[in-house]
Subunit: 350 residues, 2 copies
Amino acid sequence: MASALTLALDAMGGDYAPGMVVEGVAVAAPRLNGARFLLFGDKARIEPLLAAQPALAGRCEIIHTEVVVAGDEKPSQALRKGRGSSMALAIEAVKEGRAAGAVSAGNTGALMAFGMMALRTLPGIRRPAICTILPTIAGDGVTMLDLGANVECDAETLVQFAVMGEAFARTLLGIARPTVGLLNVGSEEVKGHDTVRLAAQLLRETTLPIQFKGFVEGDGISSGDFDVVVTDGFTGNIALKTAEGTAKLIGAKMKQAFSRDLWSKLTYLVAKPALDRARERFDPRRFNGAMLVGLNGIVIKSHGGMDALGFANAVEVAHRLAAADIDQRITQDLKEVAAASTGAARDNGA
Amino acid sequence: MASALTLALDAMGGDYAPGMVVEGVAVAAPRLNGARFLLFGDKARIEPLLAAQPALAGRCEIIHTEVVVAGDEKPSQALRKGRGSSMALAIEAVKEGRAAGAVSAGNTGALMAFGMMALRTLPGIRRPAICTILPTIAGDGVTMLDLGANVECDAETLVQFAVMGEAFARTLLGIARPTVGLLNVGSEEVKGHDTVRLAAQLLRETTLPIQFKGFVEGDGISSGDFDVVVTDGFTGNIALKTAEGTAKLIGAKMKQAFSRDLWSKLTYLVAKPALDRARERFDPRRFNGAMLVGLNGIVIKSHGGMDALGFANAVEVAHRLAAADIDQRITQDLKEVAAASTGAARDNGA
């Protein structure tokens, strides 16, 4: 990308908006060579926040709207009542080419609904999925989807997620032949419910150029044995949040262990640099920013409870994906996949 | 319990059986005042292992069988081919009153199938669930079910799990009025799929004496905000194993952080006692031993990959639950629940 990118931000989405949005942009901006930002939301609230960030002068434009999608609104309600909302306008900016990507910490269901309505899905893709990279023991991380966009998925949708996740890992992590696993309650073929078993059968029998490694259990997500882990949005969301909760639990118990007595407290001071290094690797803010993969356009979901540092990371993810032209790459992959299956179908039919 | 209890053990189930079973019994036995053990399995393999544990002399009896249920057998296959297997015989010993409880590290689906066939479910209970206690930040832990017995559950089954989990927490943890949450992808009423929403509605409207607190997200399992977390066996199994995987991931990253250079290694030595204290709290072996709650009899599932220390814990769980007469207590609870609903139905009908 020769010219600087423009990103569209829903300034009103998330628990701590618009404050954390403006602060997040201030954190991210210096690292995103010359990127510009469109901030959609309540001008009266955003303007004074922006004024307090002199480093952002000239890089932000506020597009005023008083409509905001509530966190508990159903997608159908959001579509009806949320026309002209900060979320909808940010996505429209992507549709109209005024922004290379949109970021919102608002209601996930509404974001997906607006994304689908305005941007539509990529050719051949039925439903977008929430996709992100999570830390692993070995390697550079695992691409996981769906993390909550679709609470129910049929087998064919899971297969499409596998295709998109594989392309995502190939593009963003630079893995030549990513391995793909389907999340299940056991690694044997007989395990799980009909949907996951059928999806596995489709992936085993497919002529798609996917390196399907079979079922992966919950503890295989972070092991590094799989580059891509595919599941429905219900299971994926619960797995993601259970992992977050476990990290918090371990942090709390460590704190207890290091504050038992004076000696423990002293050893904590000695161990602190190493502990901080380890902790930093799991800071959820570092992994904030998931893509609604499968849309014609880059839409990034930031966690609703994130602070400015977390939102800054989501903005950087949007910038990196836009700069890498992720959508065009996935589209290209899907075309090759389609060509491969057509070719295979022709071969089979001959 | 005045007299010593007898426990029935599937000596052939699990990755490291029968070695880890015999060693596990040797670890557990000294702590279980005078308990006796029936070991079901291949006498030729078990006898020399037992001979190496003089402390177990006179406390174990081997009941020979060469039939073993394989780890990848479907429940239907296991029922057909596994009559007379070490697993089936251990459960039959419970049915016939020769043992107060059974422990197996074998195939979960088969264990559930044999358990249901031999012991049947408690009055009013449709399906048993796998139930255990997991560590939490605040409080003494959370009772969670189902951890993998039923990959698909309808709303009424989830409600029954709530009743059983509540009774389990009340009996085993001594909590007077346990709070119950349904695992979901959000805390708002509109979140999740039809089944979980209907189950929540039933629990909200019920006259059962259950303190239903609504939906709980993945990170709420370990927070301590709920005493009981209810979900289907697919989601529960994946949440449990994701938590295990996250603990392993954090352990690995901590190890990396403490081995970066000589100074880090020295600080590790200083911090080791506190780190070990924290680690011990998450040792999966400490939490090994889940109950197939809802059966007429105590059947404990040990994790298939456990070593002797883990199996020992499962044996101790069986002993504790048998000594507490858990099944009779749950039955009593269910009767009260039934009486309450009948009473309420009468009141409503009047």
